[in-house]
């Protein structure tokens, strides 16, 4: 693994982490409005899927199975969040 690739990977994870933290913080900030929270979570998850798949494409290992995995993990997070807030529905 050359140092340029290492730096690229680190930058990728740093950007991803920052955006996930931003999404999480906004969800917490809007804790008074469940609809906005869901919207923010969906946007964050869409970013997560897109960003992840772009990385796989850049590494030439993008496959339908990978796409399905990202969608399934995101759907589990979304369903978990809804279940977590079941009393607010």
């Amino acid at each position: 693994m050359n140092s340029r690739y290492k730096a690229w990977k680190l930058t990728y994870y740093a950007i991803e982490l920052l955006i996930l933290i931003l999404g999480g913080s906004l969800i917490l900030f809007f804790s008074f409005d469940f609809a906005i929270q869901i919207m923010l979570l969906v946007i964050t998850l869409l970013f997560y899927i897109t960003f992840g798949l772009l990385r796989h494409q850049a590494e030439h290992d993008l496959d339908t199975r990978v796409v399905i995995e990202y969608i399934l993990i995101s759907a589990i997070i979304l369903a978990s969040f809804i279940f977590l807030n079941i009393t607010r529905l």
Partner: protein
């Protein structure tokens, strides 16, 4: 036993038998988890609509518990217990109602109304006064623990200046969120003035903004020459004014808050755990696979777990 071990190994550890990917991370397993969650959401909604009262959030916040825990903390620090005061309870109740009506979460209302306005309005003539607030908790002991963990709130609870206390526990909608609000008002009555030094000015304390002893003339006058706002004696006040209801005890058959949080945390933590095992094992063996990036998933789930924990914590002010 060996069979169970083999099954768990198959579920959690990547090896040749599961195509070098923990079985729990296979699409079929993830789909089962997703459908299980969707079924739980559907079932919870069904129970909520068909049998109201079965599923809800369990609350146990009572004035007696709050007083007991507060006085326990004081006793541990060699301080005398605080006694319940009807006027302070009325002031706390007024403050809670004002917060719900005007939709704010602060010691000072957007229109400038101070906590002391409610204390004076109740007829309580104070030398010292203080206020602690809490929202979003479900148990009395959690609230007192949270206050004690915060230096400024702790200072109010453990202040030797106060000898009386009043509580309000009120349920309502605040900033778009259904919540339980707890207001704790502390006071030292001006009746103690006779024993106190002559030049005592009213002191008011809220945790986040320490108010320096500002001797406004009117406040000094109120202390030294109470006229129209002279409080009734505690005994007399109890005869005239009933103490506001300060208990919220709700025990639904199923505590939805606890169940959903525990289950969600268990499910996502389990996935996180398996992802970490997968990352370590496959990373060591350097097996090429066509799967999603484990670190991506680990980052997402970790942030989500932090979100669950932080969102379900109550707030104090």
């Amino acid at each position: 036993m060996k069979k169970l071990q083999k099954k768990l190994h198959h579920l959690f550890v990547p090896h040749t038998g599961n195509n070098h990917r923990s079985k729990l991370l296979h699409h079929t397993s993830l789909l089962i988890i997703l459908f299980a969650l969707l079924a739980l959401i559907g079932l919870s909604n069904f129970i909520k609509t068909s049998s109201p009262g079965v599923l809800g959030i369990s609350y146990s916040i009572t004035q007696n518990d709050l007083l007991q825990k507060t006085n326990e903390a004081r006793a541990q620090n060699g301080l005398p217990p605080l006694t319940l005061n009807t006027q302070l309870a009325q002031a706390a109740s007024g403050k809670a109602q004002h917060m719900f009506t005007n939709n704010y979460w602060s010691h000072f209302a957007p229109d400038g109304t101070t906590p002391w306005h409610f204390i004076k309005g109740s007829g309580y003539e104070y030398i010292y006064a203080g206020e602690n607030l809490a929202k979003g908790f479900t148990q009395s002991d959690q609230i007192v623990q949270a206050w004690l963990a915060s230096p400024t709130h702790r200072e109010n609870i453990l202040s030797p200046k106060y000898d009386e206390i009043g509580f309000a526990v009120m349920e309502g909608s605040l900033l778009g969120e259904e919540t339980v609000l707890v207001v704790q008002m502390f006071g030292a009555n001006s009746q103690a003035l006779a024993q106190a030094p002559a030049e005592v000015a009213p002191q008011e304390t809220v945790p986040e903004e320490k108010i320096a002893t500002q001797e406004s003339t009117s406040q000094v006058e109120e202390v030294q020459e109470p006229t129209q706002q002279q409080p009734a004696t505690p005994d007399a006040a109890q005869e005239v004014v009933e103490l506001p209801i300060n208990n919220i005890v709700e025990s639904p058959t199923l505590n939805a808050g606890f169940i959903s949080q525990s289950l969600t945390l268990t499910i996502v933590s389990l996935i996180l755990f398996v992802l970490l095992i997968d990352l370590v094992v496959v990373g060591k063996k350097r097996i090429p696979r066509v799967v999603g990036n484990n670190i991506d998933h680990i980052l997402l789930i970790s942030i989500f777990i932090i979100l669950i924990v932080v969102q379900n914590r109550g707030g104090i002010l």
